[in-house]
């Protein structure tokens, strides 16, 4: 039995990598990938605790979360497609129209 701390440590590492990627990358696709990493670190936590507590609820939640992540990714890519059509780039630095 692998102790639950290791799972949590792994999840923290993955989340931090995702967060770092989200904050530093400029490409829209890379940012979405970073978001996926963060989401999956959270899923990992859910599953780990589910197994640790011998309760299936967490795993069901993780399935929901994966499904939601798929939807989110689909919408995110659709938006990126639209941006690409408009600006011929998916570098979000050049897409700061929502500012003052």
């Amino acid at each position: 039995m692998i102790p639950v701390e290791l799972y949590i440590g792994l999840a923290v590492i993955i989340f931090t990598i995702g967060l770092y990627g989200f904050m530093t990358q400029r490409s829209g696709i890379r940012m979405l990938m970073s978001v996926e990493l963060m989401l999956n670190s959270a899923n990992l936590n859910l599953v780990a605790f589910s197994s640790y507590n011998a309760d299936l609820t967490g795993q069901v939640f993780a399935l929901y979360s994966i499904a939601l992540a798929a939807c989110e990714a689909a919408i995110g890519f659709a938006i990126l497609m639209a941006i690409f059509r408009m600006k011929d780039t998916i570098n979000l630095d050049s897409f700061n129209v929502l500012r003052w």
């Binding site: 967060l19 904050m23 979000l92 700061n96 003052w100």
Partner: protein
């Protein structure tokens, strides 16, 4: 049912006539004049019957009172004072309405005219009938409103609109004082009752007010280091209202300008429905005045001063109606003086003053209607263009001469031979003499004598310039129709004999005003409280004093005859812009310049303009400051919105981190 039960109909019928004429008048002949005439005629009959009834039994006055709201009531009070006023007002108003049918026949807005005069009469009647000061004030304001409407009747003329506005604003100054007096009186009575007023007691009703005069007098206020009794303040505020309404100095300025309305309106205002309201108010609250130290002296001095002040201006006016306007102010001064000398003769003063009021109403209405008749026929106000009118208009001339003799006060002292004006003016001057003798203050008496001389002078100047001599311009003219000359003749009859016939019974009748089943006031006791020494007995003055008013009246007639009738003195040197006295009088003591141009426009208007400009500037600065601050803050704060998703994510992470640290710190502390 007794006739007194119908007293409430007296103001109600003309009020109803106002509504009917206003809405239906245009469809009826003569602008629906018949409605107000019928209504006022009925009111007159009721008033007359009530008065005759009351004459039999003057102590049984008519009172009806109904709760209005809270502590106030509406009610009817017909005591001798109200009864004579009611009869006079309905009578004069009736004659003026009949006369107006002829006078206003060329005017297209006839129905509006008759509606407004009906409302005017109704308001005045309701004022007279009031049994409490609040109802009186409401009617008082209605009278003010109607005067505004009627003076500005020809509102297309800018001068008429201005005159109406001036009348309204000037009387308003007095009205505000009157209202302040009522508020103070109410507050005092409330204190006296300790805030618990038994049901059915209306504290602003005259009987309650009069019953609590000693308590009100006991309340003192400290003004500029002087102890002043509240009763003095209240009465002086009331008198302020009367000064505005009755055209006493310095609020008389509206009255000469009020000539801009139709002449019949002037007659109504001057004789029956408006200017007498002030005198009536003082007479009505006379027990308060006599209990108030110094108040009656103010009334006497101001009245006497107004009498002489207005008379001096009457001498130089060239406009027919303006002479009469100044004459009214002067005669109102006499009435106020008559009330003021109550300081020496007690409650009799009400009779003396009111008798002059009634007689004045007759002869002044007559003078105005005669003037209206002349103006109607020849189409000019200017006496310099007239002359010899007596030949074309014999009835008008004759009636006007009777009125002039009445105004000047011709009669033989000690007998009952004399014109009405003599019968009433003489007692005022004699009372002023008694007052002077008992108090040592001779100024009011001197003023009243000189004013009598001037009165005689200006009215006969008017008569000689208008009716005698040769026509100075080709005016052409004709005698007025019967609907105009009949009221003239009736009024002339009254101006001739009313005073002589009713003199003794009138005084006797009015003596019951303050001792009856409604109010019972001990005037001598109150006079003692006010610090006035009532003279023991009247009628024992020296011969010279008795004859003096007649002597000056004859002197005035002679001077007018010599100067304007025979023209033995060349007036051209005197009547010129180079003569400083004439200039001063002709420009009416520069009152217009002082009151309107300087005080109203420069001081008040400019002052307000400056104040509002300053305030505006202050507000502008504040509003601009707030907007500037908001804009600057926004400018600096909006820099945070970079529009880049990474910035937001970083901020969120930093925020969450900060939050965690904070929570840790807080947990540690706890």
């Amino acid at each position: 049912m007794a006739i007194g039960d119908f007293a409430f109909l007296i103001p109600l019928l003309p009020a109803l006539a106002f509504v009917l004429t206003f809405f239906l008048g245009k469809k009826l002949p003569n602008g629906g004049a018949i409605i107000p005439i019928a209504a006022i005629a009925t009111s007159f009959v009721i008033s007359l019957l009530i008065t005759l009834n009351l004459l039999q039994n003057p102590e049984e006055v008519i009172t009806q009172s109904y709760s209005w709201f809270a502590l106030f009531n509406v009610g009817v009070l017909v005591d001798p004072l109200a009864a004579v006023m009611l009869t006079m007002v309905t009578f004069v108003s009736l004659l003026i309405h009949i006369y107006s049918v002829g006078y206003m026949s060329h005017d297209r807005a006839q129905s509006r005219y008759f509606a407004e005069t009906a409302l005017f009469t109704a308001s005045m009647l309701s004022l007279i009938l009031s049994d409490n000061i609040l109802q009186l004030f409401v009617s008082w304001e209605l009278v003010g409103l109607c005067s505004y409407l009627l003076i500005g009747f020809w509102y297309q003329k800018p001068s008429a609109a201005t005159a109406a506005k001036k009348a309204f604003l000037t009387t308003r100054i007095g009205d505000v004082m009157f209202l302040a007096g009522i508020v103070l009186l109410f507050a005092d009575l409330f204190t006296i009752f300790n805030g618990t007023i038994p049901a059915g007691t209306y504290i602003l009703r005259f009987d309650e007010i009069f019953a609590h005069i000693p308590e009100i007098a006991a309340i003192n206020a400290n003004i500029l280091g002087m102890e002043v009794s509240h009763i003095t303040i209240i009465t002086l505020l009331f008198f302020g209202g009367a000064v505005g309404k009755s055209g006493q100095f310095p609020l008389h300025v509206w009255l000469p300008d009020a000539m801009e309305g139709p002449t019949t309106v002037s007659a109504l205002i001057h004789a029956a429905t408006m200017v007498t309201a002030g005198v009536y108010l003082v007479a009505r609250t006379f027990p308060m005045f006599i209990a108030a130290p110094d108040s009656l002296l103010v009334v006497a001095y101001l009245g006497a001063f107004t009498a002489i002040f207005a008379a001096t201006m009457g001498i130089v006016m060239n406009d027919l109606k303006r002479v009469l306007a100044y004459s009214t102010i002067s005669q109102l001064g006499y009435m106020m003086l008559g009330l003021g000398v109550g300081a020496a003769i007690g409650a009799e003063a009400v009779g003396v003053s009111l008798f002059h009021l009634i007689n004045h109403a007759f002869f002044k209405a007559l003078l105005f209607l005669c003037a209206g008749s002349v103006i109607h026929a020849v189409g000019t106000h200017d006496m310099r263009q007239l002359g010899g009118v007596a030949k074309v208009m014999p009835i008008t001339a004759l009636t006007m001469i009777i009125a002039a003799f009445s105004l000047a006060g011709f009669g033989i002292p000690g007998t009952s031979i004399g014109f009405s004006g003599f019968m009433s003016k003489d007692p005022i001057i004699e009372s002023a003499y008694l007052f002077a003798e008992s108090s040592g203050m001779w100024l009011p008496y001197l003023f009243s004598i000189v004013a009598a001389l001037l009165t005689s002078l200006y009215i006969f100047r008017l008569i000689f310039m208008t009716f005698f001599g040769k026509p100075r311009t080709d005016y052409g003219g004709h005698e007025s129709p019967a609907s105009m000359t009949i009221p003239l003749s009736i009024l002339a009859l009254f101006a001739l004999v009313f005073g002589a016939l009713t003199r003794t019974s009138f005084y006797h009748f009015l003596e019951e005003t303050f001792t009856n089943n409604f109010v019972n006031v001990d005037i001598p006791a109150l006079a003692e409280m006010g610090g006035y020494h009532l003279a023991a007995h009247a009628g024992e003055e020296p011969m010279l004093v008795l004859w003096m008013p007649l002597i000056v009246a004859v002197a005035g007639l002679l001077i007018a005859y010599l100067v304007y009738g025979l023209k033995i003195v060349n007036m051209d040197n005197l009547v010129s812009r180079n003569n400083p006295v004439y200039k001063l009088l002709y420009n009416r003591y520069y009152q217009n310049e002082i009151f309107t141009d300087f005080f109203s426009v420069k001081v008040i208007y400019e002052g307000f303009a400056f104040a509002s400009r300053s305030v505006e500037r202050g507000f502008d600065w504040l509003v601009n400051w707030i907007s500037d601050i908001t804009i600057e803050t926004g400018e600096s704060v909006r820099q945070f919105q970079t529009g880049m998703i990474q910035t937001y994510a970083t901020t969120v992470v930093a925020g969450v981190g900060l939050l965690i640290i904070l929570i840790r710190v807080i947990m540690e502390v706890i």
